[in-house]
């Protein structure tokens, strides 16, 4: 079957795999046939609500089978799905809803209560997965499915493969979260590349712990649907619960963010397990610390270990083939199928072996840009002057990640060429954090930076300055942060800076000086 839009991933399994499990969640299972039926019913309801091709639908729920159904129902009618991380707070959700003009939001009663004040006026309809609010704007999911099932069926909308399928909100180098625009083709090509290099088949069942608002979580579902495999959805990241699901559901592929890997590997040090059905393990959302790599080899040495590197704007770029794990432990490896990777030094151009530069990604995974942000798009996805002789002015993703190339052409992650902080898979810019905390009236200026952390990869440390500020304000500032920031952004160390921040010759805040002073703890710490 020819794959042109995301819904083809469901249709291609019918009728042969109609009775085959597509998703599990705890004890609940859903087959491809049932999935198709629910998606069609929900699609009919969305059409009855006057949803048009290209309209954005917000999906702000915890892990569930319904989340996948809503996502694919959107694809069926050519609506754009916007899965919003359940770790985002009311202010961020309001930003997303406003930024891409979401008219219909799918959520649950508890979340709706939290965001209705900030976002209610903007929304036309709210679909509640759990609970009933009793107000005219909300409708229960079950009711919508029933209405849709009884309505006249809608045909899949004819789409072009380059049109927008999804917005994944992530932090750009400045300001508020930006919507990374993914086309149907971007997502399909990523699914094909994943299935190819992980050698996925209909026998595979992956653990679906990563949210659909992360490229990896979405890709787990699309790549399994591509091969007719299944996803064991999992809401809870506790190590014992991961182990239970892997064993009970016969999971064959396990991919986790570093935070979850560190905890799971500690768990396995105390309670080892063979995981008879497991075929491969992999990482997402950042590189694993060295101790975790050793533990991974200790506990999964008999399985295939795929180390991966990628960025939402180009899905995945590189992977380390399992047979090289021992020799190149910690490397990000070689390009993924259907990706071309260049390592470029801004002055000297294309890097050879033994050199390091910025990782540049070319190919079908390169996203369409950032929603309604042409400046940020032009900065990230553009032609590279050093590549013009090779590929002309083709636009490529400039990741901002510095990598080195070893004597075998294998790539290793070195660091960022900017100040971006990455905490448990969430990327954020210092400016984003500083802008938020400076809304507290007593705070005049702030410096946020990332510090390495065993469980989260990095965590935020924050120095704030202001004429009136004293250490007595620390608890109130922490409280302010809690109300305004999502959990991954919360400072793990907060300090009051006495007097103005040091500045460079150009009059900018001298960040390294502030960072060093805070590291040496000459300041009060919360």
């Amino acid at each position: 079957m020819y794959l042109q839009n995301l819904y083809d991933l469901v249709s291609k399994n019918l009728p042969e795999l109609k009775s085959t499990t597509a998703l599990t969640f705890g004890k609940t299972k859903i087959t491809y046939g049932e999935l198709d039926e629910s998606c069609r019913a929900l699609a009919a309801w969305l059409v009855s609500q006057d949803v048009q091709r290209g309209d954005r639908i917000g999906i702000y729920v915890s892990k569930s089978i319904e989340e996948v159904i809503v996502t694919f129902a959107c694809a069926y009618i050519g609506a754009v799905f916007v899965n919003i991380s359940s770790q985002r707070n009311a202010a961020q959700v309001a930003h997303v809803i406003e930024n891409c003009n979401i008219g219909i939001l799918v959520t649950d009663l508890r979340r709706w209560r939290h965001i209705s004040e900030a976002s209610g006026a903007q929304l036309k309809r709210v679909l509640l997965l759990r609970g009933e609010a009793g107000d005219p704007i909300t409708v229960s999911y079950d009711q919508a499915i029933a209405l849709g099932a009884n309505a006249s069926p809608v045909r899949p909308t004819a789409l072009v493969d380059t049109e927008l399928a999804a917005l994944l909100y992530t932090s750009g180098s400045t300001g508020l979260p930006k919507g990374v625009m993914l086309s149907h083709d971007n997502i399909l090509k990523s699914a094909i590349a994943s299935a190819r290099h992980l050698e996925n088949s209909a026998e595979d069942r992956v653990l679906g712990l990563s949210p659909l608002s992360f490229d990896f979580g979405l890709n787990q579902v699309t790549s399994m649907f591509l091969v007719g495999g299944s996803v064991a959805l999992q809401a809870v990241a506790m190590p014992a619960e991961i182990v239970n699901t892997v064993l009970e559901q016969g999971v064959t592929g396990l991919g986790l963010v570093p935070t979850s890997w560190v905890l799971l590997l500690r768990y396995l040090d105390e309670a080892p397990n063979q995981f008879p059905d497991l075929r491969y393990v992999t990482n997402t959302g950042g590189k694993l610390p060295p101790q975790a790599l050793d533990a991974l080899e200790r506990h999964f040495g008999e399985k295939k270990i795929f180390l991966m590197y990628g960025q939402t704007e180009a899905f995945r770029s590189t992977f380390l083939p399992p047979n090289l794990f021992a020799a190149k432990k910690g490397a990000i490896g070689y390009p993924l199928p259907n990706a071309e990777i260049f390592v470029v030094d801004p002055v000297n151009g294309l890097c050879g072996r033994g050199e390091s530069g910025e990782l540049i990604h070319r190919g079908s995974f390169v996203c369409m840009g950032y929603w309604k942000d042409p400046d940020a798009t032009a900065h990230k996805i553009k032609a590279n002057q050093h590549l013009v002789d090779l590929i002309g002015h083709e636009k490529v993703v400039h990741t901002g990640d510095i990598v080195s190339v070893d004597a075998d052409g294998c790539m290793w992650y070195v660091g960022r060429n900017d100040l971006m902080i990455k905490c448990s898979g969430f990327r954020m810019s210092p400016t984003e954090i500083e802008d938020i905390v400076c809304r507290e009236p007593l705070i005049e200026e702030a410096v946020a930076f990332g510090v390495d952390h065993e469980e989260f990869g990095q965590v935020v440390h924050l120095a704030v300055g202001g004429n009136q500020l004293t250490d007595d304000h620390l608890p109130d500032i922490m409280k302010f942060c809690r109300s305004e920031m999502p959990s991954y952004m919360m400072p793990h160390k907060l300090a009051i800076w006495n007097g103005p921040f040091p500045v460079t010759a150009h009059g900018k805040i001298d960040r390294p000086k502030v960072v060093n002073a805070l590291r040496e703890s000459q300041l009060t710490v919360a």
Binding site: V61, S62, K63, S86, Q87, N89, A90, R110, R113, H114, R130, A235, V236, A237, M238, P239, A240, E241, T259, S260, L263, R266, Y267, E270, A271, S424, E455, K479, R482, S487, Y488, M490
Partner: protein
């Protein structure tokens, strides 16, 4: 300080997007997404500090953590030993 119903509720309402009316003693905290993986680390840190006990990695499961009642039960069993 001990870990009881009121200290847990005030910890949850002060630190997370939780309103008192949202939860009772048996409301699932993790399996329905009231708390996430960051919440888990914070909750465990709070319990360890408040009750003066140490959480083993094997104890990080829903049985011990998924509701106010379960946390209280776990802490009681741990401190009684």
């Amino acid at each position: 300080m001990t870990v009881d119903r009121s200290t847990l509720i005030s910890f949850l309402t002060n630190n997370f997007d939780v309103v008192k009316d949202d939860i009772n003693d048996d409301t699932p905290l993790f399996s329905t997404g009231v708390l996430d993986s960051f919440g888990m680390i914070e909750l465990v840190g709070f319990i360890e500090k408040t009750a003066g006990i140490k959480f083993g990695v094997l104890d990080l499961n829903l049985e011990n953590l998924d509701s106010i009642n379960r946390v209280i039960h776990y802490v009681d069993a741990k401190t009684a030993r």
